[in-house]
């Protein structure tokens, strides 16, 4: 491009109001684009971080979620006896047979508004198997007692979740003894209690799943082959991280498609804004364009110059959009995970990559919006334009 960019930058500065309006229009679209993808990102990240690569999740054959799975005590005993299950120094298996129940609770803000919360009955080993789970305050539920530990994202959003308070579900009182964090994962939206307390309370007679630590983290494929091939049990074996990532796929994809659809519709409006601004710029600067053509600048240089000008305005809009979206980073929201029909809380997750994508999106809108006005500029009849 032969025409110096400083010409365009100063021309943009010379008409601050129309530049600001166009940039703001593009900025709002970029902000919505970033916010919606941050939502999808946050949701996916919550589930993706839920599992560990070193852990294995075993479900009944054919079950597509923990809720629809079921494993009896005999199966659990066979599975935990496998040499692929890691053991603690005392020789006990690092395995947690789990019950997974979804219970409707009234929300703190409005107790008539119910949300499904996962209550997970775990073994004592669960706290070692899920090594990203950290007790933030209080003590883990004692074996044999009706005690629960609350994921930090539920605290304050549902009544009686404070330490020492008592929650009522499954016809029993449950004392809250601790709060836990799990690296932002979906576990933070769960209530954990002892599996041997939860089973009778829920009138169940078995477990839903088994989570265990691999004895050899690199031997997942062998473990899968061995357990799925064992005739005594009929199970599917998943790498825990992959299983939870898959659980986020449906809603994550819907959120992404929605983000793209909504921003695409808004982007059409913003592109028309840019078109309008650039047509106005071209017609008010027709004599300047004619001078450039007279001096010997080629029509394609004029085209590139005006497209660049539109892209500069759009880039300003992109920065505005990023600044508008940034405060949303970390804001906690919740939705129902369609794979388990339970409430999952997660944060808007704005990454540098997402901000960069927002900027690129802005520049693309500007380039599209600037093209036709720029083409008109490059085809301007010099003799008429100079008058």
């Amino acid at each position: 491009m032969k025409i110096p960019l400083i010409y365009n930058i100063r021309s943009v500065r010379a008409r601050p109001v129309s530049t600001a309006m166009t940039a703001l229009g593009i900025g709002l679209v970029v902000a919505v684009f970033i916010a919606m993808l941050a939502l999808a990102n946050g949701f996916a990240a919550a589930l993706a971080t839920t599992g560990s690569d070193a852990n294995v999740l075993v479900l009944r054959k054919g079950a597509d979620s923990e809720m629809s799975s079921g494993l009896d005590r005999e199966a659990i005993s066979i599975l935990t006896g496998s040499p692929h299950v890691a053991r603690d120094p005392g020789g006990r298996p690092l395995a947690s047979p789990e019950v997974y129940v979804v219970i409707p609770f009234g929300r703190m803000a409005d107790t008539t508004q119910l949300a499904n919360v996962v209550v997970r009955g775990v073994s004592d080993a669960a706290w070692q198997v899920r090594n990203n789970v950290v007790v933030l305050a209080g003590n883990r539920p004692a074996t044999g007692r009706n005690e629960v530990c609350i994921g930090k994202r539920l605290v304050g959003r549902f009544p009686n979740t404070g330490i020492g308070e008592t929650m009522h579900f499954a016809g029993r009182p449950w004392t809250v003894t601790c709060h836990f964090a799990a690296a932002g994962s979906a576990f933070e939206s769960e209530i954990w209690g002892g599996n041997e307390q939860i089973i009778p309370a829920m009138r169940r007679d078995g477990f839903q799943s088994l989570a265990f630590r691999l004895a050899d983290a690199g031997a997942y494929d062998e473990a899968k082959r061995a357990l799925e091939g064992d005739k005594r049990v009929t199970v599917d074996v998943y790498r825990e991280s992959a299983f939870y990532t898959k659980q986020s796929e449906l809603l994550g994809n819907i959120l992404r498609v929605l983000a793209i659809l909504i921003t695409a519709i808004m982007a059409v409006g913003a592109v028309f804004g840019a078109v309008n601004t650039m047509y106005a710029a071209v017609s008010s600067r027709a004599p300047e364009i004619a001078v450039l053509l007279t001096l010997g600048f080629r029509p394609r240089s004029i085209l590139a110059s005006f497209v660049a000008e539109s892209a500069v305005i759009a880039a300003i809009g992109g920065v505005v959009g990023c600044l508008l979206a940034l405060p949303m980073n970390g804001i906690v929201t919740s939705t129902t995970n369609w794979a388990s029909f339970s409430e999952i809380a997660f944060s808007f997750r704005i990454t540098p990559g997402l901000l960069f994508a927002g900027l690129i999106f802005a520049v693309v809108m500007g380039t599209l919006g600037g093209f036709f006005p720029a083409r008109r500029a490059s085809r301007l009849p010099v003799v008429q334009a100079i008058r």
């Binding site: 010409y7 007279t294 600048f297």
Partner: protein, 232 residues
């Protein structure tokens, strides 16, 4: 030796389905190193002639040759490159780019050359020195008087060292004093630097400076006066 050779040029416009013939078989030469004034009433075709010579407009038929190159047969891209190297153009309204400084305005034609930044810098300073504005490099057009703006426009027209300098009513917007300055400058460009100058003007003072005056009316030359006695 003729720098510009115009042969049997016809030029017509359509306006509201009506055909307007500006030239019907115009022929003329402009000598290298000459200073020619084109005069005549509005609508006589002076500016159209200037535009044809500059390659800004095309004849309906006939040929326009400048320095042996047939301008009327060039493509838009070829014309742009040819203009950048051979023609300096000065407009009545100065037509400086308002967002660029005097220096940057004058530098524009050099951006189309292969000159280095240092060489460009030097050439711009020389051109602005010739027009007496080497102390106004960083001024924007709005910070200059009309006469100064037109001198910057002339500097822009000569900075790439073209053979031909075309001016369309260069003193039309200027007061008497500024007009005199511009005229003196044109005389210098012609005599000292050997530029071939063609100026469209209504101003008898400008015409008086020229070696040759051509009066156009309805697309034909009606009289000619020549300080040097050259014929059309």
């Amino acid at each position: 030796m003729a720098l510009v050779e115009i042969r049997d040029v016809h030029k017509s416009f359509s306006r509201d389905a009506e055909r307007i013939d500006v030239f019907s078989g115009l022929s003329m030469d402009i000598e290298q190193g000459s200073f020619t004034a084109l005069m005549g009433p509005s609508g006589s075709g002076k500016s159209t002639l200037l535009n044809l010579v500059a390659g800004l407009d095309r004849p309906t038929s006939g040929t326009v040759q400048v320095g042996g190159a047939e301008v009327s047969a060039m493509s838009a891209g070829q014309l742009a490159a040819w203009r950048a190297a051979n023609v300096g153009f000065v407009f009545q309204q100065f037509n400086l780019l308002p967002v660029l400084t005097a220096f940057q305005n004058v530098e524009l034609p050099l951006l189309l050359t292969r000159l280095s930044r240092r060489e460009r810098d030097e050439r711009v300073r020389i051109a602005l020195g010739v027009v007496g504005l080497d102390d106004r490099l960083r001024h924007y057009p709005r910070q200059l008087s009309g006469g100064q703006e037109q001198r910057v426009a002339i500097a822009r027209a000569i900075v790439a060292d073209p053979t031909l300098v075309l001016l369309d009513e260069p003193t039309g917007q200027l007061d008497a004093r500024s007009s005199q300055e511009v005229l003196a400058l044109l005389g210098r460009l012609n005599e000292e630097f050997g530029k071939t100058i063609v100026v469209v003007t209504h101003d008898p003072q400008v015409a008086a400076r020229a070696q040759r005056q051509l009066h156009l009316d309805k697309g034909t030359f009606i009289e000619q006066a020549s300080a040097a006695g050259a014929a059309v």
